[in-house]
Symmetry: C2
Subunit: 241 residues, 2 copies
DNA sequence: CGCTCTCTTTGACGCAGGTCAAAGAATCGA
DNA sequence: TCGATTCTTTGACCTGCGTCAAAGAGAGCG
């Protein structure tokens, strides 16, 4: 594993900086940001990044691995809110209340950059691009949530899973990974929970899509065999490549 | 109607400023904000504030009335994203793309303050509280969306409607209006659309709650007769009064 | 004031997907 | 390497809510 060498990589050297930082920072500005970022030791599968009720002090950028975020409802049931891949930021839902209302759990060995929110506040008054970047990140998060709302309110199980897979595919592609063959870091039960479906339904639809020749599924490994069909099922235009 | 006199009310005089502005602005700072706010003429029922595809330039604060925000999906169907009451801000989902991806429509005669986003960007670098306020507003929007996600993913029709009514009740209370008797500004079909239910289901559950003695419904007028039962149905702790 | 259009309610019926049960398959710790 | 635990799949059955249909009830307009 090279995670030890990545461990101290600066933002300038990090291949993901175009995903989590604004694209037009000067060298000096990026240094300033770099100086406040804390790079902790990797999280093992199942470890928590933060938990419900804890004080909020930082937001986090995933460097490698993947993180699941969920809340606990009144009956003590998990409700998955999102899955975060390398280059994505999480923890921003706690800015308002200054308290984490959700829990972030590592789904595999993951490394994460911690960015104290106070520092972001300070820097974003002096670095105009950083302020805009924060506004955009928050705004994008809202739009992502809204899209999920539409999925949950209106779509059939098949459409939800189709859209979910297309979404993952596009996110992997952005990260220069294969958009047609990837490993699902989360359990079927997490997918079901996230999409408002029973595990059994997720499983059945995976098998059905395999039978239709759209997908090849082998445990957590997925291969998209017929992207166009998947787009049709998901009712997604395949323009955003 | 006194909307003509309210029409030119400054932020200082506006009874809603504690809802839409940070609470610790100096007089001077509030003047600065006040100077960039545009107060247009009231929107009639059915008029649009912005539409999908338009350029984004401002966010909006509802002064009176109520606004429905929705997207149009691939089949041309409306998907209601939210309802906005006086003191609430909308339009922030377009910051990222600089394009409105949703449409805002007035559900009754409403007046709205327009706040150019460029001005907010400028002011929020100099007014620290304003920057923080924006971060908080955006963060809160994310949390509200996440709560709706949980509702849509896991809850029964009865729970959804219970939670919806409790939510409205609390928002009216914040606005110093009755929390037990209010008028629903939206049609049953909008409620159903928002909550992922058929109109018929909404209607049936209203009648059922009336039969149980929890509600009294008369057209758009609603009276909550048994708040505790409604909380139980919605699985909401009634602490936030 | 009456006509039209939209909104709401109610009933009957069917199905997508939930629940229960149980048998593999995979992962993990010692 | 082996048992234990957790995850996944499949089948059978059932139910909450969607759909269809139709009758009121309002609301807006000429």
């Amino acid at each position: 594993m090279t995670s030890q060498s990545k461990f101290t990589v600066s933002c300038q050297q990090c291949g993901l900086n175009e995903l989590c930082l604004p694209n037009s920072l000067t060298i000096d500005e990026m240094d300033e940001v770099d100086r406040v970022v804390k790079r902790g030791k990797p999280l093992q599968r199942g470890e928590f990044l933060y938990s419900t009720g804890e004080d909020f002090s930082s937001i986090y950028a995933v460097r490698s691995g993947s993180i699941k975020v969920f809340t606990i409802d009144d009956e003590g049931e998990e409700q998955v809110i999102g899955f975060y891949l390398p280059g994505e930021l999480l923890g921003m839902d706690a800015i308002d209340s200054r308290l984490h209302m959700s829990t972030a759990k590592s789904m595999e060995t993951s490394s994460v950059c911690e960015i104290p929110f106070d520092s972001i506040e300070d820097l974003s008054t002096s670095i105009r691009n950083l302020q805009m970047h924060m506004y955009k990140l928050l705004s994008r998060e809202i739009r992502i949530d809204q899209e999920l709302q539409m999925l949950l309110a209106k779509k059939t199980a098949e459409e939800r899973i189709g859209a979910f897979l297309m979404n993952l595919s596009m996110r992997y592609e952005q990260r220069r990974l294969s958009s047609t063959r990837f490993r699902l870091p989360m359990a079927r039960s997490d997918i079901g929970n996230y999409l408002g479906l029973a595990v059994e339904t997720v499983s059945r639809i995976f098998t059905r899509m395999q039978t239709m020749g759209v997908l090849r599924v082998e445990g957590k490994e997925v291969e998209i065999l017929d992207r166009q069909s998947l787009c049709n099922i998901a009712h997604v235009r395949d323009e955003e490549i």
